[in-house]
Symmetry: C2
Subunit: 525 residues, 2 copies
């Protein structure tokens, strides 16, 4: 496989008169083949300007045209499977099985949005019939639907090189809503990005869409991202990554002459609350389930459980000891890139050296960029007093805290920042669960799980992968599932338009056969 290494600017290639870089194999620390070129200022401006030029055409494609494009992207990704599966393990240290699985999920997301757009009801059409004779003033004819927001910048994540990256959920939902996309590749997987971006580029051509429908910028950091966020043609941003990176983008977007929405998914420790009977009745299963969830993907999931709250007592002590053994027996693995290994090293060292933290499982050594499992234990008082102990340590690590009673548990829950998920493990005998505990959890997360583990994010109509700050910058949205289409759209009202100027979704006779609200009644006729 050879790489041209240049950004994809519409149907053209970006500049090579810029800084170049190579992908690193995290498992060896050595550079991989292929030279990649950071997008130039001119590349960034051209990509954004092409997206602006494409907007009027792409945003008014019909549902079937839009669906056909999403399916063409899915088909091109499927055709690129051998190349993707060959390159991705080299750039990310993720196994081939994961590459195949994540590609399936990525293709599935494209097809899911194709189905959603083709069905068409997502536009939330609402019609109010005119009353020309109403006193004191006539009522006009009003027709409401969601329309595309504008060109979207999508920042790829390192931990999902496919499903949350160049052709990931943000790109799929932006396309579905009718928004052109300028994607920014993650520097840790530029080769996979080139393969994936080229697949989308081919689909744009096959479907005869304007070239500005999609561009992809290569780069190694904020040099590319910040000018793109600043560009007046960009109207929204999707980002998955660190709190530092997400906040930098969000603050920049808020400081523009025209502020724009930023959907940054950043950090979450996904607390698990265990109740007394569950702990007593199912401790073996909980030990195994928790160890599996903390270790999954070498701990590099946004929904990794980084805090476990146990009712104090003999059952908790026994659980902790067995869990420590289970984690000691797990092997860890290679980080996605050196930056993650370094940050994990710092975060675990800080806890290990913390006066009020006990290290109950750890492992030394391993390969370059190795992430080893760490388990810490601290007290409720320490957790409440030092917010660094409830910060994210991205990797196969978790911290255990015992709570004396429900009042202390509520204090802890009340002190936590916003989370993607919260989980409660409870048996029938733990019911009726204290409503206050469930409500406190609900107020601080986007997904509440009973008797499960937070890793595993189903792609469907009912998923919410989002939550209060700092798990995301905008709790009003999800980045996974069909509801993600809303983030890149806005409501619009047509008043007294002739039929010929109305989009089919709000025309008389409902030519698309979608669900609509007509004078307050929900109907598809």
């Amino acid at each position: 496989m050879t790489f041209h290494g240049r950004s994809l600017i519409g149907f053209a290639h970006g500049s090579i008169d810029t800084t170049s870089f190579q992908a690193m194999n995290p498992a060896t620390g050595s550079a991989l083949d292929g030279t990649f070129y950071t997008a130039s200022s001119d590349d960034i401006d051209r990509a954004a300007s092409l997206a602006k030029a494409a907007f009027a055409t792409f945003s008014t494609t019909t549902p079937s045209e839009r669906a056909a494009f999403l399916r063409a992207v899915a088909d091109e990704l499927e055709a690129a499977r051998p190349d993707i599966v060959a390159r991705m393990p080299l750039e990310t240290a993720l196994p081939e099985g994961r590459a195949n699985g994540e590609l399936g999920r990525t293709i599935g997301q494209m097809r899911m949005f194709a189905d959603l757009v083709e069905e068409g009801s997502w536009v939330d059409a609402r019609l109010e019939t005119a009353m020309p004779d109403r006193a004191p003033v006539p009522k006009p004819d009003l027709r409401y639907m969601r329309i595309a927001l504008g060109p979207v910048a999508v920042f790829g994540a390192s931990n999902f090189p496919l499903a949350f990256s160049v052709a990931g959920g943000d790109t799929a939902s932006a396309f579905a809503a009718g928004c052109p996309v300028v994607a920014v590749s993650h520097y840790a997987h530029p080769g996979v990005s080139e393969i994936v971006g080229s697949a989308i580029q081919r689909a744009v051509k096959t479907c005869n869409l304007p070239e500005g429908t999609f561009s992809m910028l290569q780069g190694t950091g904020q040099d590319v991202g910040i000018p793109l966020v600043d560009h007046p043609a960009i109207k929204a941003v999707g980002f998955t990554g660190s709190r530092f990176g997400g906040l930098a983008i969000a603050q920049r977007a808020a400081a523009r002459n025209e502020p724009i929405p930023v959907y940054a998914e950043m950090s979450s420790i996904n607390p698990i609350v265990v109740r007394a009977h569950a702990l007593s009745n199912r401790s073996d299963a909980l030990v195994a389930g928790l160890a599996g969830s903390v270790s999954l993907g070498v701990g590099q999931f946004c929904t990794n459980p980084g805090l476990v709250l146990l009712p104090a007592g003999a059952d908790a002590e026994s659980f902790i000891s067995r869990f420590a053994s289970a984690m000691d027996a797990s092997k860890g693995g290679t980080a996605l890139h050196a930056g993650i290994a370094q940050a994990y090293g710092e975060a675990t060292r800080n806890r290990d050296e913390h006066a009020l933290v006990e290290t109950i499982a750890s492992e030394d050594g391993g390969q370059v960029n190795q992430l080893n499992p760490w388990v810490f234990r601290t007290t409720a008082q320490a957790l409440l007093a030092d917010e660094s102990l409830s910060g994210e340590a991205f990797g196969p690590s978790t911290t255990i805290v015992t709570y004396a009673d429900d009042a202390e548990l509520l204090d802890i829950l009340g002190s936590l920042e916003g989370q993607l998920t919260m989980t409660i493990q409870a048996d029938d005998a733990d019911h009726p669960m204290d409503t206050a505990i469930v409500r406190a959890m609900q107020a601080r997360c986007g997904r509440l799980i009973v008797n499960g583990f937070p890793t595993g994010v189903e792609v469907c109509s009912a998923m919410v992968h989002g939550g209060p700050f700092p798990s995301t910058t905008d709790a009003r949205s999800t980045s996974v599932g069909t509801a993600a289409i809303e983030r890149f759209s806005r409501p619009f009202c047509f008043q007294d338009l002739p039929q010929s100027l109305l989009p089919p979704a709000v025309q008389d006779g409902n030519p698309l056969g979608i669900w609509r609200l007509v004078d307050g009644e929900r109907t598809r006729s």
Copy 2:
């Protein structure tokens, strides 16, 4: 009528050990009876903390409880009608008929949201059935619905002392979504605010809701607003007012440790594009309609048309001359408060003295705080070169520009900032309208009107009163109509919860009988 003049902090009164102020009668420039007290830091903190404490209870009221509360507010407002209608003209110079009409609209909004909440489908419930035997991993039971965002700060507008103020659309939609409200009275109508706020306070008591469900702060400026926006208990802000005020709040909210959404409706000039045949065929009706729309409410509506684009030629010259006469014949009136009169004086003076602007209608004199009609004319080149000419001059003023051809019209449309509305006047012979013109307008506004005028905002399910920046800070939302409930809610996912812990909206058997998406099928069974 007597006023205690203090803020309403839950069921208690705010401090009197603070700066005091009086309402001014804008028609006389004299102080009105009643001394009002700016909320103290402690008042602000108590109001926000009470709202936080009320959130868990209020946000989980049943649909019928929530609807009963909204109707109780409506009833209390109706009972306060004599007091409101007596005071409002004194504080705002608006006529009694307007006070009665706007109160009717305000009460109607409360009842509309009561109906919406009672019907219940607004929560957008989505259920996905578990598949415990699915390989390679089981599918969990997932249930999605919109839940309340958190306590909301609502800033009252001067130009709608009822419908966009203490009991206005933001308060109604926040209550409907399940969010406690801390309202900030506009200093120009503190007496009306006390009457209205007390009505809501009585409804909270009658319905046995926690006192923190509603508080109202009195004050004269940002001294109250900024600390409230900074308060960690506040999770969203609604604002209607000036660009300066809205941006100050938005920037403050973005700089918080936990940034929060701000829905600020700010400035819009609501351009009207007239096409050749319409101008030729209906110029008398257009002159009368435009003069009526520019003058309505002494020009103090957010949807006031401040820019009219005419095809150059003899018809345009004739139109301009007759429109100038019609505006000369209109009388103007008193501003809502001295600040508006001063800002209007500056804006009209700047245009009047501008080298490239011709003043074609104006009137001198009048009472104190008089707003007189002004009509200006400038060239397309001047409009494109000097963005101050497309800024808002809040009052009974408009600027006319002629366009040489469609290319110049597109240049003008492309240069305009985001607007609440855009309007096109076109006859059959003007069809097929150039799609490019309609698309350019759609990309820059929230509501597109054909053959009407932008003043007049219907309160219904299909309205969008919102638009791209700077008409609002967030184009993803409307402040009028039932869709406004979405701005104060967020999506939430329950995974594998027992029935007893699920809200009725997503329980098995659909106890509320609402429309839901169940495994992809829309059903109310």
